[in-house]
């Protein structure tokens, strides 16, 4: 495996302490992988020529082509369209959960957000950051300067999951905040009532924003590796269930989780929202690909 690509693995990236480096490595690893991948063309480099039409910026005229052909052509770049991206982090207590005691859902989300921030700034896309629990807590306005990366990353690095969460209310609040069409990238485990959250997501979409929903679950939440009789306790409410036989209930649990994800997938698809189910054992490129597909669609 090429050396940089390994940074797409959560196991590897967690050994790097600095978030900026994590972001950098993830993106580099991602692009390293792209050289041999069908994702070529997602770069921000030259894409094609097209005839100049009045109203186009004369600065974009390719004078070399004019010299050769005596006709005005304009250089077209992929990144010619600016997308304002918002990284929206869920600060709920449940996000701090990790079964293997290494990378929490929150850490995973942070890494992913940092990488996306890095990627976007390098494409001259302004990117901002919003965190919320029961309401919006911190907000970094979107900018596309390279120095902005540092701002966002330092904010991300200082974030800690707090307690209960209210996704629906927070998203409604965010919707009110956004002035222009933006790309909202939500990082959450969605462990709350799904319908209000979906409703808020639909509202965002309705307001013309593009939404990518990164649904991050812990590896244990997806695989349910427990055995024996156990009392499960909700970290947010501290509510404990009656003891159950973990092995016995696994099948039911998994079915329920799958139903839940399937429901989100279906609802998001109908609303034009990109739904990306993730768990903390998955590589980061999945999320980056998702972003780039969206970026292209917007182009």
């Amino acid at each position: 495996m090429p050396t940089v690509e390994k940074y797409l693995k959560p196991d590897v990236i967690r050994q790097i302490a600095r978030l900026d480096l994590r972001a950098q490595f993830i993106v580099k690893g991602f692009f390293q992988g792209l050289h041999a991948s069908p994702y070529h063309g997602f770069s921000v480099e030259f894409s094609e020529h097209r005839k100049y039409t009045p109203g186009d910026n004369p600065q974009d005229i390719d004078w070399l082509v004019y010299a050769k052909t005596d006709k005005y052509y304009i250089k077209k770049f992929e990144a010619e369209t600016n997308i304002t991206g918002y990284l929206v982090m869920d600060l709920s207590q449940s996000m701090s959960y990790t079964y293997r005691q290494d990378l929490t859902k929150f850490d995973y989300g942070i890494c992913l957000a940092a990488a996306l921030c890095y990627l976007m700034v390098h494409q001259q896309d302004p990117v901002g950051l919003v965190t919320f629990d029961t309401k919006i807590r911190a907000s970094v306005p979107p900018k596309s300067k390279r120095t902005h990366i540092g701002t966002v990353l330092s904010t991300l690095a200082n974030l800690r999951p707090t307690g209960e969460t209210d996704i629906a209310a927070s998203l409604t609040q965010l919707d009110a905040m956004l002035k222009h069409r933006s790309l909202v990238m939500l990082f959450s485990d969605l462990l709350a009532e799904p319908q209000p959250a979906l409703q808020s997501l639909r509202r965002l979409r309705h307001a013309g924003h593009d939404v990518i929903l990164f649904h991050i679950l812990d590896e244990a939440e997806v695989r349910f590796p427990f055995e024996g009789v156990a009392e499960f306790e909700d970290p947010e409410t501290q509510e404990a269930l009656d003891p159950v036989d973990a092995v016995g209930i696994r099948q039911d649990y998994l079915a329920e989780v799958n139903d839940f994800r399937e429901m989100f997938r279906r609802e998001c698809f109908q609303s034009g929202i990109d739904y990306v189910p993730l768990d903390t054992s998955m590589q980061f490129d999945r999320a980056l690909v998702e972003y780039l597909v969206m970026r292209r669609a917007r182009g």
């Binding site: 959960y97 244990a220 695989r223 009789v229 649990y253 998994l254 989780v257 189910p277």
Partner: protein, 802 residues
């Protein structure tokens, strides 16, 4: 069911272990912080129910496994005859458990209502059936012969078929010897303190022997016997005998050659009824017969003349049949030679003989060939001998047929009739003493008219053995008185009434009634006439001595019409109707008179068919054999020679007429035993019941001075010696024991006995079920607790879908 190690059943208490573990040793739950509890909460209830059912399933499987293990080490066994019921109970029990689990599943998994009700009904039916089976099982077991292991003492009855068939030799060993050998070995095998009875077809078989030695002695002393009880009767007797024992285990061993003759189906079925009373007696059949016997058999002798006149001819007819082989055989007629002084040294069967005739017969397997041997010129007195197939075969008993005949000078018979005598006596005189046969006449016949008879002195008349009067006229009172006196002194008088007796204007019927009053059995009433249809004789009393000659034939009396007969007034007590007409009127009447007898026939035998107004066609219709038979029987009766028999079958009582002067008679049996017996003084007869040995018997009395000697012969019925074997399936069906095992060797006896006493061992089957149960438990446990590999796949699927 019985157990070799019943105490180990206490191990069943071990099922409390999984139950206690299930109830008490529940795991302490660990507390796990888990954000996605909402997904657990939604399925928790149904999961708990399902888990409970799974636990119940596992608990049941584990408890059953422990029970089966305990059952297996207790080594249970079931009597072979109850295996099918046990299997049925086990299957129903298993299904009931499954159905009960189904009910639990329907309840816990919250199946639809009708599923729950249906499983409940099925379980109810199965449980009820199982309970009914168990109750019937318990009821059965109360009277049943509880298998108590190989070493518990038994009440054993050893039944031997001692028919002459068992003397069949194979490999120089008689079948009875083989049976004896096997039985002696078996006695050694019986557990200590067992009670042993030895039975055979002799009815005097003993009760339980005191010890093995006595039983062995009894077995060793067994010999062939042709008379007595049939084998099924002896087996029934043995079953009754062992049932009287206090011992729990009762066994009857039957040593048989499995010949069809030994197991008459009717009696075998009756034996089945005896056995059906309970399953408390185990039957073991030991086959000592030969699958493919080879034997020539001389059949039963056809009926022959046992009293022949001096110079007469003895004709013996029988069949020669073969089984398993064929070929030519010579049959000889031997006559025992009696020494000059009449002394009879040694055994009657081993006297010197002379061969009177030989005949060669050719036989094929399974078929019978007729032979007839004749001999004549016997000396007066008793003559004994036998027919024999020359050349030995496996079974000697059926190679000889013994006979005894008496040879006596011709008896004188007087026939009297009205004049002209020749017109009357022709048929009767010819029937009594045929004129064409010069030698061997049993009777010599004198003829005279009634007037001459009336003038004859009584002393002269007593020289005749019988007097016959044909179609008598009323005659004189003197004549009838003479005949009456003659009869009272031991003579036999035959009177054939006809048209001369009266009943018309010239001779009223009262005349003969008056003249013969005191001699007539009953007054004559009138002549009865019927022509269309004519009367006919009815001779249905086959056992009557007068009708003895016709006993074996169905006489077509319709071809011998009777148009007229004399109707008699009511017969006095003592008079006997020998034959009737078809309207019920007496045709032949026998009246004892003093020491003699008078026989009256109410229609004549002297009318020629050519004479107008004949009364019947009895002597003249063709063929005349019924008439000859009737006359022959009548003469034999009147002369007092017809009732004597000298040839018997084994088991029959022999009867000998013994002069009154002898108070005791010595009977010498074929093996040479002399038995002194007292004849019945009143009847002047000797009754001898010990006819179990085939052969010649001799009876003598009076010592050397007043020697009186008679003999008789006894033959075993040929059917007794038929070696054809019965199909074991037929036997099993008749005896009602489909599981009856037939052993041929010591190993097979051992196997059957062990199976019977211990029952069918269930250990291997229980182990099989146990293995299946443990495998099932393992599969269930693995299935319930296997790690699921679904989540990975489902996540990948979701990603693809997204």
């Amino acid at each position: 069911m019985s157990f070799a190690n019943a105490i180990l059943l206490a191990g069943a208490a071990l099922i409390s272990v999984p139950i206690l573990l299930h109830l008490l040793m529940r795991q302490q739950p660990k507390r796990i912080v888990f954000p996605a509890v909402r997904f657990i909460k939604q399925r928790q209830q149904s999961n708990r129910r399902r888990l409970r059912f799974r636990h119940l399933l596992l608990l049941t499987a584990r408890c059953l496994a422990i029970l089966l293990l305990v059952l297996a080490v207790a080594r249970p066994s079931v009597p072979p005859e109850l295996v099918d019921r046990f299997v049925a109970s086990a299957v129903v029990g298993g299904l009931a458990i499954v159905a009960l689990l189904g009910v639990a599943a329907a309840y816990w998994l919250q199946s639809r209502r009708w599923v729950f009700i249906a499983t409940l009904v099925v379980a109810g039916i199965l449980v009820a059936t199982g309970a009914a089976l168990a109750v019937s099982w318990v009821g059965e077991r109360q009277d049943s012969n509880v298998a108590g292991g190989v070493e518990s003492p038994v009440a054993a009855a050893l039944v031997f078929d001692t028919s002459p068939r068992l003397t069949y030799k194979h490999d120089d060993k008689e079948r009875l010897d083989a049976a004896r050998e096997m039985a002696l070995w078996l006695v050694g095998q019986l557990p200590n303190e067992s009670e042993i009875a030895v039975l055979n077809s002799r009815s005097d078989s003993s009760a339980f022997a005191i010890d093995r030695g006595a039983a062995r002695k009894k077995i060793e002393s067994l010999g062939p016997t042709a008379a007595g009880l049939t084998l099924p009767q002896v087996v029934a007797e043995a079953v009754t005998r062992v049932r009287e024992s206090d011992l729990a285990q009762r066994e009857v061993y039957i040593f048989t050659d499995l010949a069809a003759a030994a197991w008459p189906l009717e009696e075998t079925r009756r034996l089945a009824d005896v056995l059906k009373d309970g399953e408390d007696v185990r039957l073991y059949m030991v086959d000592v017969g030969i699958e493919k016997p080879i034997n020539f058999t001389l059949g039963d002798l056809d009926r022959f003349e046992e009293s022949i006149p001096a110079g007469g001819t003895l004709a013996l007819r029988t069949n020669v049949s073969a089984i398993g082989t064929g070929g030519e055989r010579v049959v000889e007629l031997h006559e025992f030679i009696t020494s000059e002084d009449g002394a009879l040294p040694g055994k009657p069967n081993e006297r010197p003989t002379r061969v009177r005739q030989r005949q060669t017969v050719s036989t094929t397997p399974g078929s019978a060939q007729r032979v007839e041997l004749r001999a004549s010129g016997f000396a007066e007195g008793t003559t004994q001998g036998y027919l024999q197939i020359v050349g030995g075969d496996g079974l000697a008993w059926d190679d000889r047929r013994y006979f005894t005949v008496t040879v006596a000078p011709a008896k004188r018979v007087l026939v009297a009739s009205p004049k002209p005598v020749d017109d009357y006596v022709l048929f009767l005189a010819e029937a009594i003493a045929p004129s064409g046969d010069a030698s061997g006449k049993r009777y010599s016949c004198d003829v005279m008219d009634l007037d001459q008879l009336g003038e004859t002195r009584l002393e002269d008349l007593l020289a005749y053995a019988a007097v016959c009067v044909l179609d008598p006229t009323p005659a004189s009172t003197k004549l009838w008185t003479l005949l009456g006196d003659y009869a009272k002194l031991g003579g036999g008088v035959g009177v054939f009434l006809g048209s001369n007796a009266g009943g018309n204007v010239r001779v009223p019927v009262g005349k003969i009634n008056e003249a013969a009053a005191g001699f007539l059995p009953a007054p004559l009433v009138r002549i009865r006439t019927r022509t269309s249809p004519p009367f006919q004789l009815v001779t249905d009393n086959k056992s009557d001595a007068i009708l003895a000659r016709l006993a074996n034939y169905d006489v077509p009396w319709g071809a011998y019409p009777v148009y007229k007969y004399w109707e008699l007034a009511e017969l006095p007590r003592g008079a006997r109707v020998v034959a009737k007409f078809d309207d019920g009127a007496p045709a032949i009447v026998d009246q004892p008179l003093g020491q003699g007898r008078a026989v009256w026939m109410t229609t004549p035998v002297s009318d020629a068919a050519s004479v107008l107004g004949y009364w019947n066609l009895l002597p003249t219709a063709d063929p005349p054999w019924p008439f000859l038979g009737l006359v022959d029987g009548m003469m034999a009766y009147l002369t007092g020679g017809g009732s004597q028999r000298f040839n018997y079958a084994t088991g029959e009582s022999a009867v000998l007429e013994v002069p009154a002067r002898f108070a005791s008679v010595v009977v010498t049996t074929p093996p040479g035993d002399d038995l002194t017996l007292q004849p019945d003084a009143k009847q002047q007869r000797l009754f001898f019941r010990g006819t179990e040995w085939p052969g010649s018997y001799l009876a003598s009395a009076g010592g050397t001075l007043d020697r009186w000697q008679r003999g008789f012969s006894v033959n075993a019925p040929a059917a007794e010696c038929n070696l054809a074997r019965i199909d074991p399936t037929v036997l099993r069906e008749a005896i009602g024991l489909s599981a009856l095992q037939i052993a041929r060797s010591q190993e097979e006896i051992n196997r059957d006995v062990t199976r019977g006493r211990v029952g069918v061992k269930l250990f291997p089957w229980i182990m099989l079920v146990l293995a299946a149960m443990m495998a099932g438990e393992f599969v269930l446990a693995t299935f319930f607790y296997r790690p699921k590999a679904v989540e990975k796949a489902s996540a990948a699927e979701l990603m693809r879908a997204a």
